[in-house]
């Protein structure tokens, strides 16, 4: 019942928090932590040189993704922020005056987490531990126990999710409800024969939908390449309320995919005077029903 002319980027004109952001798509080598982090450092510097202020690196990108034994995990995992990988990222951020959200294999005592660290020119900012563990991640990692945090950076509010979290639409919704303007998503999207393929990169579109329905920006930084027989999707992207801002990237190349965005746009949730998807939520129905288990 509307032409909804008021929802375009036009309405935010003159209200700005403009930054260049990037998804850094790369191919870590499993086990080669020093080499991976060294290459990340160089990619961070490249992006900084292009004026990027906030960038995302892939899930478990410092170690590689496929672990066969708990011993492998134990050997590569490190404390966040106490370990050498975070130290290197912080150094790169200081040097480039940038912010980095990056996937890391975390150790905390005898526990391991599939985590993301958020670091900036002033040092360590915070971390997120993946709450939805995909498949064999369950063999070695603990499910995240730090909730779904939103961090406040100078240019806006930043939520974090990792990969399979994106198949749970509750996650982006909850981050947006807490005020996230942009969601950083270090990811390792895998090919799924017959469903998710290089020709049908459905993972990128699923996140496009989440950015749109939540009126937020997203940076999905996927890895590419093949590791221990598992092929990854690439197709990293920068997303906004109107869909793709940049990407999807290539299937198999290392790339710094960057775009300039105005984060203020994420604060305008309403579409018209009478249509505001967040005000229109029927929490009376969700509260009762979202805990359901499907009948078997």
């Amino acid at each position: 019942m509307t032409k909804a002319t008021s929802v375009s980027a036009e309405r935010v004109k003159g209200r700005e928090s403009v930054i260049r952001v990037a998804a850094i798509q790369m191919e870590p080598r499993v086990g080669d932590k020093a080499g991976n982090v060294e290459r990340q450092r160089s990619l961070i510097a490249d992006a900084a040189g292009q004026g990027v202020r906030l960038m995302v690196l892939p899930e478990l990108g410092n170690t590689g993704y496929i672990f066969n034994t708990r011993d492998e995990v134990a050997e590569l995992a490190e404390e966040v922020p106490g370990g050498p990988t975070c130290a290197m990222w912080i150094d790169a951020c200081r040097e480039g005056n940038v912010y980095v959200c990056a996937g890391i294999t975390e150790r905390d005592g005898g526990r391991f987490y599939n985590s993301a660290a958020l670091v900036g020119p002033g040092g360590f900012i915070g971390k997120y531990r993946k709450v939805h563990l995909w498949d064999e991640e369950k063999l070695f990692f603990e499910p995240g126990d730090l909730g779904l945090p939103v961090f406040h950076l100078p240019f806006g509010r930043v939520g974090v999710m990792i990969c399979y979290d994106g198949w749970h639409p509750e996650v982006a919704r909850i981050l947006a409800l807490q005020g996230a303007d942009i969601i950083c998503d270090p990811t390792c999207w895998v090919l799924v024969p017959g469903i998710v393929t290089a020709e049908n990169p459905i993972s990128a579109w699923v996140h496009m939908a989440s950015a749109h329905v939540n009126g937020v920006f997203m940076i999905c930084a996927d890895r590419c390449g093949v590791e221990r027989g598992c092929t990854f999707l690439g197709n990293s992207c920068v997303l906004g309320p109107a869909g793709f801002v940049a990407g999807p990237a290539s299937f198999d190349k290392t790339e710094v995919l960057s775009a300039e965005i105005n984060l203020v746009q994420a604060r305008y949730k309403h579409w018209t005077d009478l249509a505001d998807p967040f005000a229109d939520r029927r929490t009376d129905l969700y509260d009762r029903l979202l805990g359901y288990r499907p009948p078997r």
Copy 2:
């Protein structure tokens, strides 16, 4: 951490509930209820002739979508299932031995609802009243008060949503959690300049994402054309766990968009032995957070 080879349609081989379904895209004329329902009857017969067993017609398709006055609504609204439109649909279903889910302007005493009726060869089955009213629908309609029902038909479980419900990812999730194999979505997707356009039919992709993450089928039957200055998107589609099964349809033509699907596939929610998105849900986090209001 997986090749996830077990999730393709292959694994359901030999377990079947195969039906042909259709999204009927059409252009109702506002106020011309008799004419609209007559054309719907003819389209239902066409689809039945093509072997379609379950079909969906657009939102408020018996009356047209844009109402300027409450008097207009009052004049066109009718009881569901007591009114002439449902009688005509039931008649068409008996004749064609088919099931129809169709948008209707409902009256219940002094209240009006943006509803969908589900009817079949045996008569009236049930109805759904849109719970998320879009924009100026709020001027004349009451928000739905029948929850988010799932109906049991001979070939499987059928959930219903209407249009703007699709921008609330909670709805498809809740229907899937209640066991819906397929979701019928009578809709009136509007163009939104700068965001949703014929060149960027983001609405169709948002529903593709919902079908995928919930592992269900969906039939989105949009209207097309221009009504009182409002342009609709067309782009109706039939969706499944792997994305588009048929469509998106044209932007501006009446079409019966049909596809054959195996509803049994929607019962296989898991991707691998260790990855089952429904079992993996972190309801401990959702319960606490989904009722949040964003900070302003």
